[in-house]
Structure formats: C-alpha cells, structure tokens
Symmetry: C2
Subunit: 349 residues, 2 copies
C-alpha cells in the first residue's frame, strides 16, 4: 500500500496528530518538531489520502464543472479560464459534458454530490431551470456561467447578451442596413441565444424596423449550421444586405456560403458574428463581431464561486463581463446611392 501518515509519524518519532498538525499548518507545533515531520514527509514522498481527509472534514477542494458544447472555441477558453483560476485557488476540477441533455446533467450532479464537491460551475443552457431546482435542493454553492439567471438566489456571470446584440444591430442600422437576417442559436438554448434575440428585437424596434420572425433562422453554433442557414436566407431573402450570426463560427460558415455563390462580403452583404474568437482575425474578410473573453468569464466564475464557498454568500451575484464591438472587414457602410433598395427604385424610376 501507499505511504500513510502513520509511517511518517513513526519515522519522525511523533504521533499521528502531530503529523496532521504540521501538514495543516497548525501553529501549535514546535518548529523543531515540524522540521522533523517535514523531513520524514519528504523522505517517504508522502501524499495525503484525500478520501480520508474528505471523509473526515467533509470538504473536498473540488469544483464540479458541467458543460455542453465545450469544444467550441469560446467555451474551450472559458474552461481554460476556469481551470487556471481554480488551480490558483487550490481547487481541482471534476469535469463533465452533458451534451445538453438533462439526464446527463442530472447524472453528473449526483456523481459530483457523491464526491462532496465544494461548489459547481454550470455552463448549460437547455434545461437549466430543471437543473437549478436540483441544485437548490442540494444546497450546494453554484455559479452559472452561460447566461443571465433571473432567480435572485442564483449567482451568474455572463456577457450582457441583450446589450451586446443590441449594439451590433444598432451598428448595422447606423451603417445603413435595413434589410437584415439573423442566425440564432438552437431554440432549446434558453439563455445566450434568447438574450441575443431580445437585444436584436429591441434594436430593431428603436430603429423602426419591423420584426419578422421568418428572418431568424435557427442554427446550432457550428460552421455547418451557419453555412446552411445562409443558404436558406439567400433563397428566401435575396435582397438582404446584412447577416448577423449569433456566434463567430456560424458567421464563418455564412461567409463561406456567400463566397461560393459569388456574393461578395462585405460589398454585397455584410456578415457579423458574436464572441470574438481568435479565428475572426484570420478569416478573409476578417470578422466584425462582439468581442468577449471566455477566459475572463471563467476566471470570474471561479472567483465568485470561491467567495460563496468561503463566505457563504456573495454581495453582487449577477455580474456582467465586458464586451466590445470590434469592426473589422466583413461589414460595409451602406452608401445610400448603392443600396440595393435604391438601385431597384432607380431602375424602376
């Protein structure tokens, strides 16, 4: 078997409790004794048995992460931020992917409870409401990192999707676009995609543009879905001058489709995304988008969770991370003389 505390105690010539005290930085140990113990620990390459410690103390220094679609660049960076900050604060991570299925989420929640995790980060959008009630029932510290949760008891950190989507549409309108189409996330996504939708509607209303639900095509945040959504858009609305995809990957898929059709971006159609992943700097044209930092989001989520774990509460439990409209090459100011609408009018006139 592995080296145990008993072995250390024996080698150091002290009792079990003294070893434990030294390992836990207890100040009630003579420095000389401590040194003896430390020497023995080193010599035996002793590693504490975490299960025994957890069993006794009921605290695990373990944080559970339940995510979905984490292979998407934005979320992969979120995970990276979570990991880095968790490590920094002495937590290890149990990581589970739910594939957006409630059953798997529930399952992982149970597993994590069994492991006595100190807290949990939830990055899941579909059945979050059901999840929430389980989590509340389990009475475990939780931070939601994938959208705004209105329940006042629940902490969350997210970009302000409504405001950001609003900003983007406002920018498009100010650039002269009236004839827009949109690529949403999955309709099952009750958080980010819904919020962005709200932001779009708001901006449309304030710009006196009529809301037309047919102009919102459902995607699933992949390149492929952006590609096929663009196809639908071009078929149904050939006169569109701007397409707003709710994430960068779908925008890239859109651009690819348009180019295949010989449609120039941005000369013929402007295309914008959301998230601001690295890729957007290297596409042709480079992508106009809303930039937010997944890494920072991850950091912040652990920071909040840590506070809840340590202090039992958190003063500000709804936080927004910054976002910024980044205008690159995929958007055009619509010169009034060359607006398609105008051209048509002129041709008719």
């Amino acid at each position: 078997m592995d080296v145990t505390m008993k072995d250390v105690a024996k080698l150091a010539g002290v009792s079990l409790s003294t070893v434990s005290r030294v390992l836990n930085d207890s100040s009630l140990v003579r420095e000389e004794t401590a040194r003896k113990v430390e020497k023995a620990v080193e010599k035996l390459d002793y590693q504490i048995n975490d299960s025994a410690r957890i069993l006794r103390t009921n605290t695990s220094n373990l944080i559970g992460v339940i995510g979905a679609g984490m292979e998407r660049p934005f979320l992969a960076n979120l995970l990276k931020g979570i990991e880095a900050e968790a490590r920094e604060r002495g937590f290890a991570l149990i990581y589970g992917d739910s594939d957006g299925e409630f059953e798997k989420e529930q399952n992982y929640l149970n597993i994590m409870k069994q492991k006595k995790i100190d807290g949990i980060i939830l990055i899941t959008t579909n059945y979050y409401n059901d999840l929430l009630s389980i989590v509340k029932n389990y009475n475990i510290p939780v931070v939601f990192a994938s959208g705004y949760i209105s329940d006042p008891e629940i902490s969350c950190v997210t970009v302000d999707n409504v405001a950001a989507a609003y900003d983007m549409v406002e920018f498009l309108c100010q650039s002269g676009h009236k004839n827009m189409a949109f690529i949403k996330g999955p309709d099952l996504d009750m958080l980010a995609s819904q919020e962005r939708l709200r932001g779009v509607k708001l901006a449309l209303r304030l710009s006196d543009i009529e809301y037309d639900s047919k102009r919102f095509i459902e995607g699933d945040f992949t390149f492929e879905s952006g590609y096929s959504a663009a196809k639908k858009i071009i078929n149904k609305f050939p006169d569109v001058t701007a397409i707003f995809a709710f994430n960068d990957e779908m925008a890239v898929g859109t651009i690819r489709f348009l180019k295949e059709q010989g449609i120039k971006v941005p000369e013929d159609i402007s295309v914008v995304g959301f998230d601001g992943i690295d890729l957007g700097n290297y596409t042709d044209p480079a992508l106009t988008t809303i930039k937010q930092s997944g890494y920072h989001l991850g950091l912040k989520s652990i920071e909040m969770l840590n506070q809840i774990i340590n202090e039992g509460k958190i003063e500000d439990n709804k936080v927004f991370i910054p976002h910024k409209l980044v205008v690159r090459e995929s958007t055009n100011k619509l010169n009034e003389l060359t607006t398609k609408q105008e051209v048509i009018t002129k041709n008719r006139g």
Copy 2:
C-alpha cells in the same frame, strides 16, 4: 448532514451490510429485501459517500487528465472523446491543464495520486520524459495520447505523425512542388512536431530534395504564429510554391498573410495543414490537410486505459489511429509550364 447508509438501513429495516450489498449489485440478496432497500434509497434520495467508499476500496473510478493547450480545436475534441468514453465506462474525470510546464504537471500528478485516481491520460509534449519517470514510479496505469512513446512499458495512442507528414510531402512533391517551406510546432514539443518533422525529412530525401533547416520556421500552433511564420517565409524564400504548416490553425494564419500580400492561394502558393479540424472546410480556400479524429483518439485512449486498469496489462500498447490526406482547395498541381522556376528560366532564356 447528508443522508447516510445508516439512514437507509434503518428505514428499510435491514442492516448496513445489506444496503451495501444491494447497492453493489451483490446477488446474495433476496429480491424482496433488495426492493425494500431500493425504495428507501429512492425515498431518502440517498447518494453514496464516495470518499468513504474510496477510502475503503482504494478504487475511485476516477481518471485524471493532464493536458496542455486544450483550447485548440483538435485537442478540445480529444477531450470531448475522452469525456464521452469515460462517462460511458463509469469513470469521472479530474481535469488539469499544465500549460506545458513541468512543475504544474508534477503538481497535478500529486493531486491526482492523492485522490487515488484509477488511471491517467497524459496529453503533454514538452517534458513528457520527466513525467514518465514519475508516473512509472507511482505505478499507476497511464496512456499517452499525444504522440508515440518509445518506452516499451508505456501505452500510447496517436496518429502516425511520421507517416502522415510523409504522405503530405509526397503529395506535394507529386503535385510538382520542389520549393517548399514548413511551419513546425514549438521546438519544446518533443512529440507530434518532432515526428512530423521526421516524416517530412524522410519524404524529402526520397524525393531527392535537399533538406534545408532554414526552411523550417518555428510556430506554436496558433493562427498568429502561422501568420508571422508565413511572413518570414515570404521574406526569406520568395520563390516558395508550397507551405506545409504542422497544424490547421497555422495554415489558416498563413493563408491570411498571403492574401494580404496579394499572393493567391493556391495559384501562387499552395498551403496545407494538419489535423483536419472542421474549420478547414469553411475557409477560403478550403484547406488541404491531414485528417485525424481527435474525438476518436480520446475514445481509444480511454478504452486502452480501461483495459490496463481492469486487466493489469494490455496486449497492444502502441496504437495508431487512422489518418487521411484530404485534398481540398488550397493546393494546386504545379503545371510545369507555369512553375515559377520555369518562368524565371524562360525569362532568362
């Protein structure tokens, strides 16, 4: 406190051991008794205390994953595959990112040992040799999922980087390219990048093309590094007709740079990548690359680890996952009449 087995036993009117037997599918329990216990478990929403179980049994159903650069699409998919297969087989995952630093790797290894993980997947390339000796000393099942490990005791699963890189260069040569440049991975990367380098050299030799180390620029697998490596290449070797980046992101960065310079891909220069991430289908031009499946690699790594854990050994401990050359739009057959070399010659002549 939480519900314990004692509570279940009391409610069901049986002893602790009976409850334990039922929970562990022990067949020596009358069906009726089992049902009583199950009912009590359900009623109390009992969750086993994993720490107690681990302490007692010394097996955790926990797999440790130590990775680096996991935000890269290929590796994000690898992680997804690991997670899916681990879940399938009843393992939970402890996940740690090493940032490619030995100290962090070592640290995580200790943490994981303390948690009595059943096995470990290593996806790290820089100091893998030092890691290996620790792991061997810890005597814990391990599978390496980021390159070929020659140590006969160590299991590994990876794409055949040598063969794949060879295939790519051979393809380029057969397309008439003689004047090539390459964008390597970091020189610290002792696995994938080194292996691909070997494959390239081999193909060069067999095609009677002289190896020139100056034509191998170091990158770090990011878009950005591909972009700047391409800049160096164009400055130093303006007559290059093909660039082979050792992953797709760097290839995309390369294409972006070339386009900015007004260099046409593939008409002026062919660009190829490695990995076959989704993105490559949606760039303009779509990317010629070596396709391998990160997800499948993840699956396989858990499958192997599981076998080592269960059977104490594995017959075939070096496995290669399939790869395929996928020719898309970023490469051109160099027509002999329009080879730059030929043109120059003709102009001179």
